[in-house]
Amino acid sequence: MEERKELKVNAIENGTVIDHIPTQSVFQVIHILNLQECENQILFGTGLESKKYGKKGIIKVSERFFAPKDVNKIALVAPTATLIEIKNYKVTVKKNVSIPNEVSTFVKCVNPNCITNHENVATKFKVLDKKKVKLQCLYCEKSTAQDNFTFI
């Protein structure tokens, strides 16, 4: 009988692998990186086994490399994520994501009376707390905690 392949998600020749994503955050990561608009080959998995985290998610995007500022955005929902860049099936870069000092455009301000929730204004936040991930709106100055994140 043919032996089962180890990899549940196929290896890619060139591109980016985002590994160790909390399994429930995979679709948020796809959304934040706007991958639904990307026409490259994308493989992703959720609920995969991980020695370190129990369950994890993974996303592999062929022929695409991300700017650090884009990748760091996903740190808000996937602080454990590892970014791996692959060229010719070889790992050329491997690093952890880090939470940026400022976050814009993709998180909604929690304050219902904030101008960003009423006019066509891109949101902007200062990251107040990197551990608990707390964002302060640069417009109304109210803080949005991780539990209240809504992605635009």
Binding site: N113, E119, L138, Y139, C140
Partner: protein
């Protein structure tokens, strides 16, 4: 200060704030000056605030500026669905400076980003009202001769009062001792108290104002609104405890002044108006001088 918008009080350094106060004192001595004759001030009030609007417009008029604008959103193109950005961009081409009141928090910051002309925030929702803070500081400085080493009491609704929050924050720049008098339900929020703690200043909390009055240099009164209480019985129970009456001022210090951002409803008895401690109408008048100082320095004529 030329072209420097005022969105939050923290946009200006302490030196810049004091510059405005000193300049306001100059305008108080000599308020009618034709220094803004060639300037147009836009006064955009997306929600009505008669007192603030008239104060700004009077400041502009006394310096001979021309004023354009509207006093509520219903009479402007906003009611036709125009975006704030479009309104600001359009009005920018008609004026040299925009004074804006808007019901949404953060609207002033956004207007500042969009506008090619400077913005003065005349209140953006529950967020900031920096000209009120400056006129309060001016009133304190004028009556006490200083801003440092004062005992200042805040009385009433300390939870929702934007005026109180901004002034407490501003006074944390000086060596202030705070006396906070409020019903338990309306205590100063912890994030505002944090400013006091950060500067290692002292604050005391009370539920009655009688014992505070002889201790303080400034008694800053605010209105307690019924709708702030989850339990109407609680409101009925506390409402009379936060009314200032003339006999209560008997043991007040000689230099003590009573401030109130106005409008008052019943929290200061009218008998108090003629006492030497009453300062709230002068305080409102001071607002005009402070706004003159702001218009003149931001337009670069002083």
């Amino acid at each position: 200060m030329k072209d420097r918008s005022l969105v939050s009080i923290s946009d200006y350094t302490i030196e810049e704030q004091l510059n405005i106060l000193n300049l306001a004192a100059e305008f108080e001595k000599n308020p009618r000056q034709k220094i803004l004759e060639s300037h147009v001030v836009a006064s955009l009030f997306f929600e009505p605030s008669t007192r603030t609007r008239l104060s700004f417009e009077s400041a502009a008029a006394q310096l001979s500026a021309k004023i354009v604008g509207f006093s509520e959103a219903g009479t402007s193109s906003v009611s036709k669905g125009e975006s704030l950005k479009d309104t600001i961009l359009t009005v920018s081409s008609y004026s040299d400076i925009i004074v804006m009141r808007h019901p949404r928090e953060g609207s002033a910051k956004y207007a500042e980003e969009v506008a090619p002309v400077p913005i003065i925030n005349a209140g953006d929702g529950a967020h900031q009202h920096p000209t009120q803070t400056l006129l309060d500081m001016y009133s304190i400085m004028k009556t006490q001769g200083k801003l440092d080493d004062l005992n200042i009491a805040f009385v009433g609704d300390l939870k929702y009062g934007r005026t109180v929050h901004s002034l407490v924050e501003a006074l944390c720049q000086f060596n202030t001792t705070f006396h906070l008098v409020s019903p338990t339900e309306l205590k100063l929020p912890s994030y505002v108290k944090q400013h006091i703690k950060d500067k290692k200043l002292t604050y005391h909390q009370y539920t009655e104002m009688n014992e505070v009055i002889p201790e303080v240099d400034i008694l800053y009164m605010t209105r307690i609104q019924k709708e702030r209480f989850s339990d109407p019985i609680e409101y009925e129970r506390v409402k009379d405890a936060y009314i200032l009456r003339l006999p209560m001022l008997e043991n007040a210090k000689e230099n003590m002044k009573v401030l109130h951002p106005l409008p008052r409803v019943n929290e200061i008895d009218e008998d108090v108006d003629n006492s030497p401690q009453a300062y709230y109408f002068q305080q409102a008048k001071n607002g005009v001088y402070v706004r003159m100082a702001l218009l003149a320095s931001i337009l670069g004529v002083v």
